[in-house]
């Protein structure tokens, strides 16, 4: 295994062995998501329209270099000074000069992720200037000598007991672990430093070119003190954060707060254009703005990584990321943590620091929650590609990318293969040679594939419409009964059904960073599906991941009309049949007395969030409710089949919360649509997991 991943595996192991820490982090993430959802609801926000607006504002800001120029001119016209810093070192050097000119031995800072990006504090310290973090979470990290583990809640990994102990030592006076005592101690300790500071440093959430102003958003009010007490205020801003007009800033102010903490706006939103006098005296009051490039211009030119510049640093993506929830930002991050931290790290700190990309399981939830609609998973796939090209690929990943070829052979020798997969010695061998975890249940292979059975059975001609059924691997090789049942329903509803000569959908190519192969496969499938769409066919699949690939990923892999056309005609099975269901006499084939616990596969969250499948079951007289943690079950395709800490173990650690919820739900049946989620739930719960189609029968049919 490549060195970077060996280190990563060791880190993951250590994280999993701290269940208490995981519990706290998980709770923080859940609360973050719940607050966000509640505020969106309460504010009556039209989320899709809001996302579109924020995206268009950010795209303009990130792409048009003339905005930063106009901003710089306006700052100068206000009497401020501007530095365009190509690198972090340039920015730090400038700040050192400012401090020396003031005779300052220390400065006070409010929270600035950009200053962390360039390791400003360390750069200043090397020259004898102390940077004092005043945001409470940042201050705690500084005292502990640790990196922030979350964008918005930097010290989320520390308990109040630990904080009290640490500050007692640092301040040399006893501090109780009651949070209010900690707060008073910090307030008392920092106040004299604020009052004596000659230089204050802030980041900027937004720059506004038309008046040469910055927006600084804080909750603690430390930003107010940093920008009012000291004689000199230096603001550091990434060049992607500058918009042209004030009207553009409104949606960003909303977006930051809602997505970060679920507030409607942060407590203090300061619009600062230059210094103000104090009691009428303007003497010595200086304003400096450092506009930071540090790789951003290069990212701007990159067709894939330019999307990262649209980030508003709200942290919502890390609140939903399943593996971040187990490992935390110290493992799942370098300086920038979480999903969006992967493309940022690879671009501003280098590929060597970005090996935590392999913690991404390609569930796609970060894209779904992003208020700027950033395709974070695709950028992560690109980082993985660069990494495996530079450092090699583990055998297990190569094996799972060959799943299709393997499935073909396994079907040919199905009884033998299934016997082997069940037994110990062969699985141990598979683990040693292929890296497939011996503890994971693998789905048995069928003797006859779906295609051969459909050929033997023949198809009916329908008058309602035409469907190209996309089986993907599971319905073709593992569970052709499922495919047949789906086809039967489609035919009963009046559709002519054919199975096109497509290959599998190929998600592992994306998950494991082989975008070239993914793209070639997409092209192959699209060339078959495109003409069918032209002939009036809709594409239907029982595998959520296949629909996700067709609708969300192929259009990204093969930009153009063909992929868009196919994507708009691709549907999940239950979504597709929903309109015609009224005429179908559905009967339950299982006990309907209890409740069905339904698991929503991640890839369907981007499509229908399981709603049509749940309605299908309800129509068949079941009582259904979604049992969910709001994030992934952990298996994430084949990720949880890989052996060890970077596979099965991490996957089960992620799944534990969901397993616990199912155990407590007292559901008598458990259902899900995805073939791989089925494996995870079965292994985690030791119970049978059903596909909704396994739970119904029709009047007059089997």
């Amino acid at each position: 295994m490549p060195k970077g991943r060996q280190r990563l595996a060791a880190d993951v192991r250590r994280s999993i062995e701290e269940p208490e820490r995981i519990g706290k982090l998980w709770e923080a993430m859940e609360r973050g998501r719940a607050n966000r959802a509640a505020t969106i609801e309460q504010a009556g926000l039209d989320l899709p329209a809001f996302r579109d607006r924020v995206r268009s504002i950010k795209e303009t800001a990130a792409q048009d270099p003339s905005i930063a120029e106009a901003f710089a001119d306006a700052v100068r016209a206000n009497g401020g000074r501007v530095l365009f810093a190509a690198t972090g070192q340039e920015a730090v050097r400038y700040l050192l000069d400012v401090c020396r000119a003031q005779g300052a031995e220390f400065l006070v800072k409010s929270k600035s992720l950009t200053s962390e990006e360039i390791e400003m504090n360390q750069g200043l310290a090397a020259e004898g200037i102390r940077a004092i973090e005043t945001d409470l979470g940042e201050l705690l990290c500084q005292v502990a000598g640790e990196k922030p583990s979350h964008l918005v809640f930097p010290a989320i990994h520390m308990t109040s007991d630990r904080i009290a102990k640490m500050l007692t030592e640092e301040y040399g006076e006893p501090i109780a672990s009651e949070p209010s005592s900690i707060l008073s101690a910090v307030r008392a300790k920092l106040r004299p430093l604020f009052l004596a500071a000659k230089v204050g440093v802030t980041g900027a959430n937004i720059g506004v070119a038309e008046t040469g102003s910055i927006v600084v958003e804080t909750n603690e009010g430390n930003g107010r003190l940093v920008t009012s007490v000291p004689r000199v205020h230096v603001a550091l801003i990434g060049l992607e954060k500058i918009v042209r007009h004030w009207e553009d800033a409104a949606d960003l102010v909303r977006g930051h707060a809602i997505s970060a903490t679920g507030q409607r706006m942060t407590v203090y939103v300061s619009l600062i254009s230059h210094r103000q006098p104090v009691a009428g005296d303007p003497a010595g009051r200086e304003f400096h703005v450092i506009i930071l490039d540090n790789g951003r211009t290069r990212m701007r030119a990159d067709p894939i990584f330019r999307d990262a510049l649209n980030c508003i640093r709200c942290g919502a993506c890390m609140n939903v990321c399943p593996t971040y929830g187990v490992t935390g930002g110290h493992v799942f991050g370098h300086i920038y943590p979480g999903p969006i931290g992967i493309p940022w790290t690879a671009n501003v700190h280098g590929l060597e620091e970005a090996s935590f990309a392999h913690l991404c399981v390609s569930c796609g939830l970060c894209h779904e929650i992003c208020p700027v609609d950033i395709d974070i998973p695709f950028m992560i796939a690109k980082v993985k590609e660069q990494d495996v090209e530079a450092h090699g690929q583990p055998t297990a990943e190569r094996f799972f990318m060959a799943s299709e070829a393997f499935a073909k052979v396994a079907c040919l020798m199905a009884p033998l293969a299934n016997g082997l997969f069940r037994r110990g010695p062969a699985r141990i061998l598979m683990e040693w040679t292929l890296g497939v975890d011996r503890r994971r249940t693998l789905p048995p292979f069928a003797r006859r594939t779906l295609r051969s059975r459909v050929r033997a059975r023949g198809t009916k001609v329908g008058r309602v419409g035409k469907v190209a059924f996309f089986p993907d691997l599971y319905a073709e090789y593992n569970n052709p009964d499922l495919g047949l049942k789906a086809i039967e329903i489609l035919e009963r509803l009046g559709y002519s059904v054919l199975i096109p000569d497509v290959r599998w959908s190929g998600m592992p190519y994306v998950s494991y960073g082989r975008l070239g192969k993914a793209s070639a496969l997409a092209e192959f499938n699209l060339r078959i599906l495109g003409p069918l769409v032209d002939q009036g066919y809709d594409i239907v699949s029982t595998e959520p991941t296949a629909v996700y690939m067709l609708r969300k990923v192929y259009p990204k892999l093969r930009e153009g009309e063909l992929a868009t056309k196919v994507g708009t005609h691709a549907f999940g099975f239950f979504e597709f049949i929903e309109r015609g269901l009224a005429g179908l006499p559905l009967r339950p084939s299982r006990d309907v007395a209890g409740v069905v616990g339904f698991h929503i596969p991640c890839h369907d969250r981007a499509l229908t969030s399981g709603a049509p499948a749940m309605r299908f079951l309800e129509r068949a007289s079941y009582r259904v409710r979604a049992v969910e943690t709001g994030t992934c079950c952990g298996i994430a395709g084949t990720f949880g089949m890989k052996s060890g800490w970077l596979g099965y173990d991490l996957s089960m650690a992620v799944g534990e919360k969901l397993f616990e919820q199912f155990r407590q739900s007292e559901c008598n049946l458990i259902a899900t649509e995805s073939s791989v989620c089925t494996l995870q739930l079965r292994d985690g719960l030791g119970r049978a997991i059903l596909h909704p189609l396994d739970m119904v029968r029709f009047e007059g049919a089997g």
Binding site: L136, P179, T211, R224, V267, Q276, A279
Partner: protein, 166 residues
């Protein structure tokens, strides 16, 4: 009514030293009358070098908001001198007077209004505008909501229905 209200707020906090900044001239007497028993300083009138110390030593700061954002319960502070922000940020109690009629609907309207003010003020003459939607708070310790971390622990807003604003 307003002086009585102010007096009761300050009494409630056991205030001794009060700093006042950014008030419209014609409201100064009213505040002075209301707080006649306390040590009160109009910070803009102090020598510049004493302003910071006065605000740091006060337990209450009384300042002015030019407008408010209805949907968000946020104040719009317009400062053309930093004594306004020091008096609002350093004391543990912050009292804000707000003309009741000066309301905008939401952040979009507030930003349009603030943007207009900043544009029309001209280079180097622009005010520092702050939207304030509560007392200083943090969730950084175990996500527990705590007030008064650096700025005020308490925020009082006194709506003036008898005064239109400057």
């Amino acid at each position: 009514m307003t002086p009585v209200l102010l007096e009761s707020i300050l009494k409630g906090h056991g205030a001794n030293r009060v700093v006042v900044a950014n008030l419209p001239r014609e409201l100064r007497d009213l505040v002075a009358v209301a707080l006649k028993d306390l040590s009160i300083a109009f910070v803009e009138d102090l020598p510049s070098e004493d302003a910071l110390a006065a605000c740091a030593a006060a337990d209450v700061g009384i300042t002015w908001a030019d407008f408010a954002i209805a949907e968000d319960g946020a104040l719009g502070e317009v400062a053309r001198d930093d004594t306004a922000r020091l008096a609002a940020s350093l004391p543990i109690v912050h009292v804000v007077l707000l003309p009741a009629g000066r309301l905008v609907r939401d952040v979009a309207e507030a930003m349009a209004f603030a943007g207009g003010l900043l544009r029309s003020s001209g280079p180097g003459q622009r005010p520092t505008i702050t939207f304030i939607s509560g007392p200083s708070r943090t969730g950084d310790i175990e996500l527990r909501l705590l007030y008064g971390v650096h700025g005020p622990h308490s925020l009082h807003v006194v709506l003036l229905d008898w005064y239109e604003g400057r």
